[in-house]
Amino acid sequence: MQQSRLLFCFLFVVGALTTVHADEVEQQIAKIKQVQKEGQGNQAASQAVQQLSQADAGALIPILKGFENANPLALNWLCGAFESVAAKSIQQKNLPKDKLEKFILDQSNNPRARRLAYETLIKVDPDASDRLIPGMINDPSVTLRRDAVQRLIDQAKELEEADKKSEAKQIYQQALTGATDADQVKAIVKPLRELGEKIDLQKHFGFLSDWMIVGPFDNSGKKGYDTVYPPEQQIDFSAGLEGKEGKVKWKSVNTEDDYGIFDIAKSISPYKGAVMYCAADFYSPGEQQLEIRLGTPNAWKIWVNGKLLFARNEYHRGMIMDQYSVPVTFQPGKNVILLKLCQNEQTENWAQRYQFQLRIARPSGTGVLSEKPEATTQLSK
């Protein structure tokens, strides 16, 4: 009896010393969220994450909650802590499955935290996938929504193969409402068009298709990238400007490409050592934090309402949709987007493309349309 009491006391003391209490968990999370660029806060975060990793399963939901408002670096520190605790909980068979599921279903939680919770849950409960994913077709989490879309694509394909075209069409249409990744959209649109459906992909993705364009200006020796030409100082569509090959004027162009690609080399001229400026406007109903998503194999700079947002001095390293995502805050009403696109003088076959595609999207990838679809034509008036 005496021995049992001693053992109990010993276990209690050891337990008290090793358990990370709830308030301590919050303190460690707060320390981790202090990390900044250049490794600032790394040492404190490292200590905090090591302590947090010793916590029991009760810390899992608080860690996931900690993802809210965490910067991308802090979020990864929290991932590390979560996975250490989760691995231990899975081993000890005390993963809080119900709490994780509730957390996943709550769309107000951080999308990446929800994904992490989901991937952890299905390790011990693979059926959760069938239970949770089908309801996520319009989920704010890009990855959960993608899984839901994929299920519908697979389902529609099966129906199509069984010659149930009408049902397949309905399912494809439903899938399209949630699809934002180019591969899934292609997999949906091709059969839908074959089934007689008309789809405006530019509208679906939020591509800008109407532009004002001027150039070429000189980019010999790639010097034009840093040269400030008149459109960077003032956008005046009526002005004649001194270009590389004489006087140039702004002109209106348009693309009908499904993916909003405007090909300068094909539609205007295969300029080499050139700079072109492209302008479009975007009407926003209020202040919105969105993303400009650009694809181009050329060097570029982008301004919104006269403010330089980002610049990239890279040529011919490929082009894909959403190659660059630039966060932007649009003001209510008209916003003017100015894109500077530079072509170098490389002569290789693979270095001749001079083109771009640009869309406006939410961080989740869903396209956002200008409040006035005819927006860019406003510029020329």
């Binding site: 660029k37 250049e38 490794g39 790394n42 040492q43 975060a45 490292s46 994450v49 090591q50 990793s53 991308p72 670096l73 979020l75 990864n76 520190w77 991932c79 590390g80 802590a81 996975e83 250490s84 691995a87 990446r112 992490l116 991937e119 990855t143 993608r146 990744d181 591969d183 194999p297 980002f310 610049a311 990239r312 001095n313 890279e314 040529y315 390293r317 490929g318 082009m319 894909i320 190659q323 660059y324």
Partner: protein, 402 residues
């Protein structure tokens, strides 16, 4: 060496012979593609596959081995933005843990490569994993996070639309991470304990997929790190990033410099043999040979011979003293993985997953075995535990004696 000293060292020698050495980074302990004590099988066939572990997602990084653990990176997700560091039991192939993080930099890549292309590195206590997104993750050997950095998060124009592939190396207390590209191009030396930069140096603004090599001087001098770029090779001090000397005749941006017997073999003007310089003396070109121009795979120096593999899959063996060709052997290519060497044999795995073993002879090379793993393999294999470790997107294999 005195007999008494030899007696003291004997247990360690025995331990090395029996358990082999770690393969702690891309191209092995000395970044020269050579295993020092291990001898994988020279006769290989399907029966030589000791175990196969399943993998998910994408990964072209090589495995590394520390003690009885194999570490590997891969990515999952449509955008390859979920970055994983995995650990397997080297004896059984059982997965011991998997830790994942989100990419904080761009994850766009050429289709052939992927975000998990850089091979991780270890100092024996920690694992350092880097990715094309320029995220750097440091874990202990049990998978506990020690620190992390997001170098493209810190420097948003440090990226390459075709993907970043250079692997980091550890020298002493410094992790050397190349982030060389067309725009914000640099290499940084991070403190292995904290991830905080000891130094960051500007590098040529041209996309670069080569990896650093270690130059251990013959006697006395400090260990140097060789950074290769389109402009040539810079030998730098790992603790400060300061330049010791430079070779400025240009070099390739895919195959990397190899060191053998205190001579550099640089993919430059075909292949260039270079005697190292010093702070007071420039390096000296010993010879240059166009016929030894390597393709994607890096050159290799082993058993007093220099080897390269060309675009057509021809293995060339040359005299390292003068670059004179000794023999050639046509293999089944093409190769992305660098050849590795142990026990007088070369191990070459082509892009289709065919592992070919070549015995090195004085007058010819002779193929002694092959095993078809039937999956795309771009990653350079590792040697440890008297075995080879190879990976594709889908699998990790251990190939050892029956």
């Amino acid at each position: 060496m005195k007999y008494e000293t030899f007696k003291l060292l004997l247990p360690f020698v025995a331990l090395g012979l029996c358990c082999g050495a770690d393969w702690p980074q891309f191209r092995g302990p000395l970044t020269n593609n050579v295993a020092t004590t291990d001898t994988p099988p020279t006769q290989v066939d399907q029966e030589s596959i000791a175990w196969t572990a399943d993998l998910e997602g994408r990964g072209a990084s090589g495995p590394i081995i520390v003690g009885d653990k194999v570490f590997l990176t891969n990515t999952t997700g449509f955008r390859q933005d979920q970055l994983h560091v995995l650990c397997f039991d080297a004896k059984t192939g059982k997965q011991l843990w998997d830790r994942q993080f989100w990419a904080t930099g761009r994850t766009q890549c050429h289709n052939k490569m992927c975000v998990a292309t850089p091979t991780p590195a270890s100092d024996g206590k920690r694992v350092f994993a880097t990715f094309s997104s320029n995220d750097v993750v440091c874990l202990d050997l049990d998978g506990n996070l020690l620190w992390l950095r997001g170098l493209s998060h810190d420097y948003p124009n440090a990226s390459n639309s075709l993907g970043m592939a250079s692997s980091p190396i550890v020298v002493g207390e410094t992790l050397i991470v190349p982030v060389e590209n067309d725009d914000d191009s640099f290499t940084t030396g991070l403190d292995v304990k904290t991830g905080i930069a000891r130094w960051r140096i500007k590098r040529p603004r041209v996309a670069n997929w080569t990896s650093p090599a270690i130059l251990k001087p013959a006697q006395g001098d400090e260990t140097l790190v060789l950074l290769q770029s389109s402009e040539g090779v810079d030998a730098i001090y790992p603790e400060t990033g300061e330049t010791a000397w430079q070779y400025e005749q240009g070099a390739g941006r895919i195959p990397s410099t190899t060191v053998g017997d205190n001579t550099l073999y640089i993919p430059s003007n075909g292949l260039t043999a270079l005697a190292p310089g010093s702070s007071s003396e420039p390096p000296k070109v010993l010879w240059q040979e166009q016929r030894l121009s390597p393709s994607t795979a890096s050159p290799l120096v082993y058993q007093k011979k220099v080897f390269t593999v060309n675009r057509a899959g021809v293995l060339s063996c040359a005299n390292p003293k003068d670059g004179e060709l000794i023999w050639r052997l046509r293999l089944k290519g093409p190769f992305s993985a660098t050849p590795i060497a142990a026990g007088n044999h070369l191990y070459l795995v082509n892009e289709k997953g065919l592992l070919q073993v070549v015995q090195i002879g004085e007058e010819e090379g002779k193929q002694t075995g092959e095993v078809d793993l039937k999956e795309t393999i771009l990653a350079t294999p590792a040697i440890a535990d008297n075995a080879l470790f190879l990976r594709s997107d889908q699998h990790l294999w251990k190939v050892s004696s029956k």
